[in-house]
Subunit: 346 residues, 2 copies
């Protein structure tokens, strides 16, 4: 057999870290790959990766800690994350060459996918960008949907606060809350993001937390009646300030804590006493606990998008070479919208 041998660029993980990720924690490597069909009986796929997703949770896989819900990366090997890929060869009965899929893949041009259980086949639709399957219609979008509807128990007319509001999750939380009839305020870290929240994403109000000396005062200003629902993507000082501004029977969905992801000694939270006096429910969650709702989510949110009821902002980087800096940028708020890497053109 004389199969095609091609170059396979990879972004590899150098080794475990304790600090904020740096570009030098990853390494671009070149190798070759034979584009052979996977061995018979392997049920594996050989795929060409089109889009890769940069997500803050990946920071957790850079620690040498095996007790979490997802194992750490393997030093020397390509990073792994959500992607959109095209099937080149398949030994799996459900997939054939040319199929578009989304699920876990490697940070490389071509991947062999052995674990096919969590893959999802994409039904191509001209009205929906393919890359949305790692954003609006992927894990971040589903996190927003499950977190808002299942964890926050929203009611029409409630006051909703979203932090990291222009990010991959926050932008959809805010729009779903608006569609649900809530009053929504978002925080973000630049004037550009605040403008997007107010002018493009339809938030009622938005503010730049970096310009606020006193987060408690800022929240009092935007929520003179208090907050019913805080969708917390950051943790830390913003969570502490929100605790001072919750209404009775308020709910806090604890999602990302991106501000604390890289701190080996996280910041203290001092205002938990309010949980009692205001009878607040504070709940951590992972979207993976709600996968039974995924089909409904996919239909609802696809339709909202096609009907023009929601928009979704992506920050698209070109080429695997740009992946390390794009990933590192997440922890400095550099991304505007959902951070995606285009590995190859469709």
């Amino acid at each position: 057999m004389s199969e095609e041998v091609v170059q396979n660029k990879k972004v590899t993980f150098k080794g475990y870290i304790d600090d904020v990720p740096k570009e030098t924690d990853m390494e671009l490597k070149l190798s070759n790959i034979e584009l052979n069909p996977p061995p018979q009986g392997s049920a594996a796929l050989l795929v060409k990766n089109l889009y890769l997703s940069c997500d803050p949770y990946m920071r957790g896989r850079m620690r040498d800690f095996h007790g979490s819900y997802i194992p750490p990366f393997v030093p020397g090997q390509a990073l792994e994350g959500f992607g959109v890929s095209e099937v080149i060869h398949s030994d799996h009965p459900n997939y054939k060459p040319g199929d578009l899929i989304t699920g876990f893949t490697g940070w490389e041009e071509y991947s062999v996918i052995q674990r096919t259980e969590q893959l999802r086949k994409i039904q191509p639709d001209d009205r929906i960008p393919l890359s949305f399957h790692v954003g609006l219609l992927g894990m971040p979008g589903f996190t927003a949907y499950a977190g808002f509807f299942e964890v926050c128990s929203p009611t029409k007319g409630e006051y909703v606060f979203v932090s990291a509001a222009s990010g991959a999750v926050g932008q959809l939380v805010g729009q779903l809350a608006k569609l649900h009839g809530c009053y929504v305020v978002g925080s973000a870290g630049s004037k550009e993001k605040v403008d997007l929240l107010k002018n493009k994403l339809g938030f009622d109000e938005a503010f730049n937390y970096k310009e606020e000396l006193d987060l408690n005062a800022a929240l009092q200003r935007y929520f003179p009646q208090g907050i019913d629902i805080y969708f917390d993507n950051v943790g830390g000082d913003m969570l502490d300030a929100a605790l001072l501004n919750m209404r009775i029977h308020g709910r806090i969905a604890v999602c990302g804590m991106v501000s604390q992801q890289s701190l080996s000694k996280p910041k203290g939270i001092y205002n938990l006493f309010n949980l009692i006096s205001r009878r607040i429910r504070m709940q951590g969650f992972l979207q993976s606990d709600y996968l039974h709702l995924y089909p409904r989510f996919l239909e609802d949110v696809s339709n909202y998008y096609k009907q023009g009821k929601i928009v979704y902002i992506e920050d698209m980087n070109e080429g695997l070479e740009s992946a390390p800096s794009a990933f590192v940028g997440l922890f400095h708020g550099k991304n505007v919208g959902k951070q995606v890497i285009r590995v190859a053109h469709e």
Copy 2:
């Protein structure tokens, strides 16, 4: 009219404080009271107080803060709290002289009660001590019942941890959890209390937190499989340690935070990240939100007690003179069981 004039000893509140309560924050005063019937149309009661309850939440009423669920005490006037009283005169159609009632009353020998909406008439029962109506069958017992069954969502076989476990609330939480088929470990602050938990209250295990250098290590020792339910009566370091030992989908009922009640700058909580990875629900609550369950509680817990399925430990002080030191003792763990003041013999 020549009504009887009697002496009315009172424990008055001297003024707002920022620190741990001291005996000198209260003052014993003598005055006289005419045992007249309340004015016609007032719907008020004149009562003789038999038992008064010392509860940690009362500390919150010693702050000059009016935004809480209960207003502050009024300087110069008698403290107020739950009590068991005998009706001497009544202008209220539901009550007659000789009735025994429980509800808010003054820290004094005789009180005029204007707000009768939240009073409850006691059906005397020789098998149940009257003082239990401010403990096992009163607010602390109901806090345990509502918190455990409504907030903790317990399932048979789950691992339950209770802090301040020999206290007014904790001792019932542990016993209800045992009756529900859970494995129960309690923490307390002395060898005497630990012995009570293990030998009298039926906890599976108990430990003295003051003898543990590392609370995380202690919890790992007692819960090698992790904790499903933490009924938190203390907050602070114990809450932080419990967060490290919760199981996936664990629940934390946030009740008293007695360790933090008197700190104007409470301790920080550092381990909230576990809320996400372990999908923990942490919920503050007040028993007053569950009053619709009170009749069922009263029946269930009275029956358990009369059937010998649960016990209840009281720390009874004699005389109003002892009330300030008994109250202050709560914040130093001096009470063994529910702290009650006997004001007059039945």
